[in-house]
Point group: D2
């Protein structure tokens, strides 16, 4: 299955008055990691793959996270991301965020492929994922 690892730094503006990261920020970090994983699978930027495949995004239908160790501003963290399941209707992604090798946060996502609703441009509609996308997400990318 497809994987991606990247590092980032927790910043002052990510942290709350307890001096640790405000937990909602982890979900922005995970979104970026999932995007990078798909960019790698498809060999193009998100801007290009939305245009190329004519869809709106890959919104979450469910997510879960476990917070094991706090992180704080200045911490360099590593995020390992993997596609762990993929069908034509949805795919599952897992994230492991570590700090100095210790597991700090785990994230679990279920996402779908969405297009603009044909009857109402202000709504979305999920649709089957193109077979070539499924192939790339499950076989490790271009």
């Amino acid at each position: 299955m497809l994987t991606n690892t990247r590092t980032t730094r927790i910043e002052w503006g990510d942290c709350d008055p307890a001096g640790i990261i405000f937990y909602a920020r982890y979900f922005a970090i995970f979104e970026t990691s999932t995007t990078m994983l798909i960019e790698r699978a498809l060999g193009m930027s998100k801007f290009d793959y939305l245009k190329t495949y004519g869809f709106l995004g890959h919104p979450l239908v469910e997510t879960r996270a476990r917070f094991r160790l706090p992180t704080r501003y200045g911490d360099e963290v590593s995020i390992e991301t993997a596609v762990v399941a993929c069908s034509t209707s949805s795919f599952k992604v897992e994230h492991r965020l570590t700090k100095a090798g210790a597991l700090a946060v785990e994230g679990f996502e279920t996402r779908v492929w969405a297009i603009r609703h044909p009857d109402d441009p202000t709504r979305m509609k999920s649709r089957p994922m193109p077979p070539e996308i499924v192939a790339r997400l499950t076989q490790g990318g271009v």
Copy 2:
């Protein structure tokens, strides 16, 4: 059990290029709702209850969310929040975010009571919740 309902509006800056809310924003909305619930239970602001009870916060150890309907800028949403379980070591909170009466997002949280670590002021440590806090969270507040 203790409950709280509030309304808020999804704003332009909360939304992403698909025109819908960026999902990480829901977790900031849930954090505010949980804070308001505890403020109501204890009859004082968070600033005051952290000082009064000498603790650092009520960080999450686990959270889960299900996204059923998208929301977009300008949407007025309602968030119903309830404590659904509470022991001396942790408490569970659930959120139901609705839009025009329809369930859009459900959030599930497990939180602990944390103090500054006695041996290292830069770390946190969970500790038993004071019995009066447990009583107020389970009996509906002051």
Copy 3:
């Protein structure tokens, strides 16, 4: 000239490890206030006015802010917003954010009217504001 006043509360997740609001959050507060001012001027939601007038938004070309008093989580603040100048090419907005009557932050914005670039849907282009919009912004709305 058109004015609008609203209140909001500074939340835990808006604040940084110094215990006060992270300054970037003020700009999200100002954006919401400007949107509400224009919604009031035009008598419709932003979602509707973007569609009705076929434009993309009213991006900033310049902003400035002065921070006089810090705010922290739990603070109820009031934001008074006014259009202070308006031509067909741009308009200026000022915000005064107060806490318990004391001026905490002033914001100054210059914004333009933008449409999607006709030659490149991924770019924006500023264009003259419709005379009726100018009239409403300078005369106080519907």
Copy 4:
């Protein structure tokens, strides 16, 4: 004078329904750049320099930004940051954010050195900057 250059990527969650960055995000980017500049000047992390010098932070008293070109998700941007003035009471920082070599945003900051108010731990108070900090900010760091 002290300078620092870094690169970052604009992400999906940083962007708004017009498809471009939500402008408040630039201020978080600038905050990180200023922090990195001071970390470099003092040869230690922000966490360490706050502790070493016993202060609370370097809050803004004024900021200004000019937005020349929009950026969107996937854009790699470069931020050049420089201390342009420094006295014992305040210092000025400028940021130039470029995209593919073109100037996209300029940021201008005036910041002070702040400690916890001696009479009220919930308030801040500005105080003179230590001469060695002034020396390092004006002479280029360790």
